[in-house]
C-alpha cells in the first residue's frame, strides 16, 4: 500500500491535535492541551488510485515560545495548514507557512483548514481574506468539534497526493 507523510502546521491552539483526534479516532475534547514535540498517527483512506496510508504528523503549534522545526517536514507529500477562524492572527502565521512551503516543497500537495467553523458568532476571518486564499489553495471550513468537512478534507488531500 502506498504510504504518504502529511504534516499539519499552524499557530498554537488552532486545533491541529483535535482535527487529528476527530479524523483518526472520531473523538473530540473541549479541553485545550498544548502540543510540545511531535505526535504521529496513521490512517488508511481510499482514493481514486487505491488506498493510501496517511502518516499524519501533528507538529507543535508555532508561537514566540516554540518555532517550527523544519527538519520534521522533510519527505512530506502533503501539508495541511490550519487556521483558527476565530483568531485572525493565525491567518497571518498561515500565510508565512504557505510561503515557506511553496518555496521549499513546491511539488507537495497543500490544503488549508479554516478550523472552528462551528463558532460562527466568533469568526474573525472576512470573506475576502478566505477568497484570496482560495485563489491559490483548496480551503476547507472545518470543525474538529462537529466533524464538519474533516473527513472530506483529508480525502481530498489524499487524492491530491496519490
Amino acid at each position: 500500500m502506498i504510504q504518504r507523510k502529511v504534516c499539519l502546521v499552524g499557530s498554537f491552539a488552532v486545533g491541529i491535535t483535535s482535527l487529528l483526534q476527530r479524523f483518526v479516532y472520531s473523538r473530540f475534547s473541549d479541553k485545550y492541551l498544548t502540543t510540545v514535540g511531535v505526535k504521529i498517527d496513521r490512517k488508511i483512506v481510499p482514493t481514486s488510485q487505491g488506498s493510501v496510508s496517511l502518516i499524519l504528523w501533528d507538529l507543535a503549534g508555532e508561537d514566540e515560545f516554540q518555532s517550527l522545526q523544519t527538519s520534521f517536514l522533510r519527505g512530506a507529500a502533503g501539508f495541511v495548514v490550519v487556521i483558527d477562524s476565530t483568531r485572525n492572527e493565525t491567518l497571518q502565521q498561515a500565510r508565512s507557512h504557505l510561503d515557506y512551503l511553496e518555496e521549499e516543497y513546491p511539488k507537495a500537495a497543500k490544503v488549508i483548514f479554516a478550523n472552528k467553523a462551528d463558532l460562527e458568532n466568533s469568526w474573525d476571518l472576512e470573506t475576502d481574506e478566505l477568497n484570496r486564499l482560495e485563489k491559490r489553495f483548496t480551503v476547507f471550513r472545518t470543525s474538529a468539534k462537529t466533524g464538519h468537512s474533516v473527513e472530506e478534507a483529508f480525502h481530498v488531500l489524499a487524492d491530491k497526493m496519490s
Partner: protein, 369 residues
Amino acid sequence: MGEVLPEIARRLNFVILKRVQGDLFELLEEPPEWFRLIFAPGENPNEVRVGSSSLFLDDFMTDAEDHWANERPEPLKSGVWHEFDSGDREHYLEATALYVRSTSVLILESLGHDYEVRMQLFQKARNFVLQNQTLDYELQKNDVLLHFLSTQLGPALQKIGRSLAELKQHKLDYDVLSDLNEVVRVAARQDMLVDTFLRRFSSEIVTMQQVTRDYGSAPDVIEVVRTLVKAELDAFLNRAVDLSMDSTVPPTESTKVMSHRARLDKVVGSLMHFALRRAPEGSSINMQIHSHGEDWIHVEIHESVASLSLEDEEIFENLLSANSLVRKTALSLYFCKLTIERWGGEIGYRHMGESGCWWFRLRRIKKPS
C-alpha cells in the same frame, strides 16, 4: 568505568544502541522497561529494528544515516516526539545520532518529569496568551456596553419618563391613564436599575473616560505612531505591504494631543491592523501626521488601495449594521470611534480614487508659554 556506564545510562533513562545494519541495532546493555514496551525485540533479544517500531524513528533514520555516513563528530538530535507503548501509555522520547570511534551510535532518551514540567510551563504560557487575547476583546466590548448604557439608554429612559409624565397632564380616559401610569413606573424603575448599574461600575466608567490634558504627561502622537510603525514593520513586510511614516508638523509645534496613551495606542494599532488585513500584496500604507490650524492634529492612514468599498465609506455611522465586517472588527472600529469622540475628536474614512484614507483628529495641547 566501562562496567558502570550501562548502569548510568539505565538510571538516566538512556538506551545506547550500536548500529548493525540499516535500522537494526544492538543493545549494549539491558534497557529500562519503557524501551521493551515500545520496541519489540527481533530474533536476537539483544537486537531491535527501531524503524518498524516507531514511525518517527523510521523517518529520523534518513537524517541519522546521512550523519553517520559523513562521520560528523557533533551529535544530531531528533527533537522530542510522543510514542505510545503496548499498554497505550504515552512516553516522550528524544533520539541522538552520534558517530564515535568509527561506530554509528543511536541514543534514545525517555524524558521524564523535567519534560512534563516543561510541558506544563508551555501550557500555562499559552493559556495566558489566549486569555489575554480574549480579555482584549472583552474589555472593548465592556467599554462599548458601558458607553451605550451611560450615554444612550439611561438618558433615553429619562426622556421617556418625562414625556409620559407630561402626557398625563392631558385629559385621558381612566384606562389610558392607568396604563400610562404603569409605563411611567416601569420607565422609572429601568432608569433606576441603569443608574445603580452605572454607579456600581463607576470606576470602570472613570477609566473609560480618562483623558490627559496636561502637556507634560499627554501622549505625543508622533511618538505613538512611530513606535507602532516600528513594532508592526515585520508584520507588514511578511505581507509584502510597504509601511512608511511622514509628518508635516514643524518641530517647533506641539504634537501632544488630548487623549490617553494606552487607548491612543489601541486606536492607531486597530486602524493599522485593519488596513493591513485588507491591503493586497505590493500595496503601501503611509502614516501621516498634519497640523490643522492651531488647535488640531490630524492622523491619517493612507492606503494605496482602498480597504473599504464606496458603499462602506460611511462605515463609522453604520458600524453596527455593516455586513461586510466580522463582529470583532466592527467592535474594534466602534471602540475607536467612541474613544476619539470621547476626547472631542472626529474619525472617518474617505476614498481618494483607487486609494483610501482612515483619519482622525484630536485636540492639540499647546506648549505652555
